[in-house]
């Protein structure tokens, strides 16, 4: 029995063309546009939360600032750095795929996943800490002083927004994990790696959401100390 001849790079790329597209270029354009459109929907989705935050912070800026002082700025800054570095590793992963370097690709994808887990781990530590200090909103919420209603609103928004963000992180880690498996199996070539590019866009978006969340949640009470 003859051994199957391995596909050349051109043949492999052609095999990844889905039947309803007329060319790889069309397929790539479609998937990139799709991701951008999806990210716009995500902006609108988070936007509702940001609007709610804006309304209630405008209503009681001092109360919000006092509440924000209960955030751990060290952990928040570390997490911000973790995410920015993870965006860098993700971008490097895309570059590695585009230049056909498999080992760096695997390394960068793994690094991105690890950093993602690190982010979630630090968030878990923060959440636990807040819950211990009765800062989870609801009937068990405790906040001394006159700012209690505003603080409870702040923490409702904090848990809601960072929780939604964390959910997106978990999905992102899942996506990058899938890419890692596919990359391990040699599925990506310089001619075909748009899944990595498109996932990179998603990852960067989740990072950018955090860049907005961080100052709004962690830094607004600094001037009062």
């Amino acid at each position: 029995m003859a051994e199957p001849r391995p596909l050349s790079r051109e043949e492999y790329a052609a095999s990844r063309l889905q039947h309803h597209f007329v060319s790889m270029e069309q397929q790539r354009d479609a998937s990139t546009l799709a991701m951008w459109v999806f990210l716009v929907t995500e902006i609108l989705f988070f936007g509702g939360f940001f609007l709610t935050y804006t309304v209630y912070r405008w209503q009681d800026p001092v109360g919000f600032a006092h509440a924000s002082q209960n955030m751990d700025i060290v952990l928040g800054t570390v997490n911000t750095a973790v995410l920015i570095i993870s965006s860098l590793t993700m971008a490097m992963a895309v570059h590695s795929a585009a230049t056909g370097r498999r080992k760096p690709l695997l390394a960068y994808l793994s690094a991105t996943i690890l950093l993602g887990f690190a982010f979630l781990g630090i968030k878990a530590v923060e959440y636990t800490d807040h819950i211990h200090h009765h800062l989870f909103p609801g009937p068990g919420f405790r906040f001394p002083g006159p700012d209690k209603p505003a603080a409870e609103m702040f923490f409702s928004l904090y848990f809601g927004m960072t929780g939604l963000h964390a959910l997106h992180m978990i999905i992102g880690i899942g996506i990058v994990g899938t890419l890692l498996v596919m990359a391990y199996r040699g599925r990506f070539t310089p001619e075909y790696h748009s899944p990595i590019e498109v996932s990179g866009l998603y990852w960067h978006f989740v990072d950018i959401v955090w860049i907005f969340l961080f100052p709004l949640l962690y830094l607004i009470g600094r001037h009062l100390k």
Binding site: T41, F49, Y56
Partner: protein, 546 residues
């Protein structure tokens, strides 16, 4: 491309088409063919339509008498809530896009499928899962907040199944987003060679504009429902004044989506009318570019008017001024379309087939509905008629007299293409007439009731309102009968109807250039387009088509 009709293929052997490409449940439930997915949606939305219609029937039965004597108040409140939820989210919003849009957009642009067939299938499953959640809520006792879920009633006071219903709508919203995303990417990247933007059928333009709204608006209702859910589960205070929240903020967030949502419901129907009228007038659409631009203008302006639902909510008078002015602006592109359709008929060659009857019905009823919208945009008048039956009449004129007639017109227009069969023209005309009469008898008296002051969502009412209510209920029963008829004769045609040719109406458009029903890949050869839309040429000028 010619306008002549090819002879009907009667008594021909069963033809290969997307319908025969694979049998069995799996070949349907795991299909990637946009045409089959469209039919999956057709089955589901038909189910939800009749469910929502059943709720409407019960509502109208209760309103036959001034006292609330048919059902308990709680039950009545659940009936109108679920009528609204089912009709808006599970029927009207998906209807034309998910059935006719899914089926025909790829064909109209000369593509083999949408950009993401698997996402398309996923969108149907997501829709069904959302539907199941909502059905669960319905079966286990219902929701009683009104489809508008106003806080703090929905977050603090209601003891009904708000959460499952909200989750159901949240999930189904993703179906909408996926559909819109698929359409946008498809229209941008997969047009056949020569199919430039201004050669696209207006149906495609309408769906492009609709998709913009689906994609930009739906996430906002999603996050709003999420906030409501969080508030209910964790006793948070986003909208609860007792915890420092603002109930009017809910209204802003809710209507920011729900107003554009009405354009999701009507723009596709306008697209259908823009296809039917030129075909049955055998004349190019008058003012093609203006109709195309008008669709986009409606989508954009539609995002700027949400506050016209809140003129008496306590929002600032200046906000009221802004929203009123913008609401007048958004009416203009709709008026432009109506004038253009009418002008298309001028000096046309008008055929009175059923699709055209529905299109003409749309033009008339949408005009009335749209004009009554001007009453509501008018601040001083809206204060009086807000939250009365005037509003109910207005939006039913648009949603039922407009959107549903557009939907039925589209179904009748494209039925031969989809099924390969012709339905009974006589029965279809009769049903269209019954629908038209029943509709007007149901909803016109409600304008009068509204100005008289009968509030909406009332289980019982003062006795002087009874005569008009009885008229309305009489109309509703006629309307219901009119809706059941197509279900019957369309089903019948699938088995016993005459075979349809590829172009029974002599229409232009790429979808008529292939067989009825079409093959799975739509076109054996990718078409190359070098003609303008709605171009009808005399027979002797027919060029050979490859």
């Amino acid at each position: 491309m010619s306008a002549e009709m090819t002879p009907p293929l009667v008594d021909a052997p069963p033809r290969e088409s997307f319908l025969t490409a694979g049998y069995g449940v799996k070949s349907w439930l795991l299909t990637r063919d946009h045409k089959r997915i469209a039919l999956l949606y057709l089955a589901s939305i038909t189910f939800f339509f009749f469910l929502g219609g059943l709720f409407a029937l019960l509502i109208r039965l209760e309103l036959l008498t001034p006292e609330g004597d048919l059902v308990q108040p709680e039950t009545y409140n659940k009936l109108f809530t679920m009528h609204g939820i089912v009709m808006v989210f599970f029927f009207l919003i998906p209807s034309i896009p998910a059935v006719l849009g899914n089926f025909f957009i790829p064909m109209m642009i000369g593509a083999k499928d949408l950009a993401f067939p698997r996402l398309n299938l996923l969108s149907w499953y997501v829709y069904m899962i959302g539907g199941l959640f909502t059905l669960w809520a319905v079966v286990h006792g219902g929701v009683d907040t009104g489809w508008t879920f106003y806080a703090p009633f929905s977050t603090v006071s209601s003891s009904s199944h708000v959460l499952p219903a909200a989750i159901g709508i949240f999930i189904t919203g993703f179906s909408s987003i996926l559909t819109g995303l698929n359409f946008i990417v498809t229209i941008h990247t997969m047009r056949a060679p020569g199919m430039t933007w201004f050669r696209l059928p207006l149906f495609v333009w309408s769906h492009y504009a609709t998709s913009l709204i689906m994609v930009l608006g739906t996430p906002v209702i999603a996050v709003t429902l999420l906030l409501v859910a969080l508030e209910r589960i964790f006793h948070l205070g986003f909208f609860d004044p007792a915890l420092g929240g603002d109930p009017v903020l809910f209204q802003h967030l809710f209507w920011f989506y729900s107003h554009p949502a009405v354009y999701i419901m009507v723009l596709p129907a306008m697209g259908v009318v823009s296809e039917i009228v030129p075909t049955f007038a055998r004349k190019s659409v008058f003012g093609y570019r203006f109709v195309a631009y008008a669709s986009v203008a409606i989508a954009v302006l539609g995002f700027l008017v949400w506050g016209h639902h809140m003129f008496v909510s306590g929002q600032s008078v200046y906000a009221g001024l802004f929203f009123s002015l913008l609401s007048f602006f958004v009416a203009i592109p709709s008026a432009v379309k109506v004038f253009n359709w009418t002008a298309t008929m001028y000096k046309g060659s008008i055929s009175w087939r059923t699709p055209m009857l529905y299109a003409i019905g749309f033009i008339g009823l949408f005009t009335i509905g749209g004009l009554t919208g001007l009453f509501l945009a008018t601040l001083g008048v809206d204060v009086h008629v807000h939250d009365t039956y005037f509003i109910i009449a207005h939006f039913h004129y648009i949603m039922v007299g407009g959107a549903i007639m557009g939907y039925l017109g589209g179904i009748h227009y494209w039925w031969p293409k989809i099924s390969g069969k012709l339905y009974s023209e006589g029965l279809a005309k009769f049903a269209a007439f019954v629908v038209f009469v029943g509709f007007n008898l149901t909803f016109f008296p409600q304008f009068i009731l509204g100005y008289l002051g009968m509030p909406r969502r009332y289980h019982s009412y003062p006795p002087e309102f009874q005569v008009l209510n009885v008229m309305s209920t009489a109309g509703a029963s006629i309307l219901g009968f009119g809706y059941v008829l197509p279900l019957a004769y369309l089903f019948w045609s699938m088995r016993y109807g005459r075979d349809a040719s590829s172009n029974p109406w002599g229409a232009t458009g790429l979808e008529w250039q292939t067989t009825s029903p079409p093959p799975t890949e739509n076109f054996p050869v990718t078409p190359v387009v070098d003609w303008e839309p709605y171009e009808y040429r005399p027979k002797k000028e027919v060029a050979a088509v490859g």
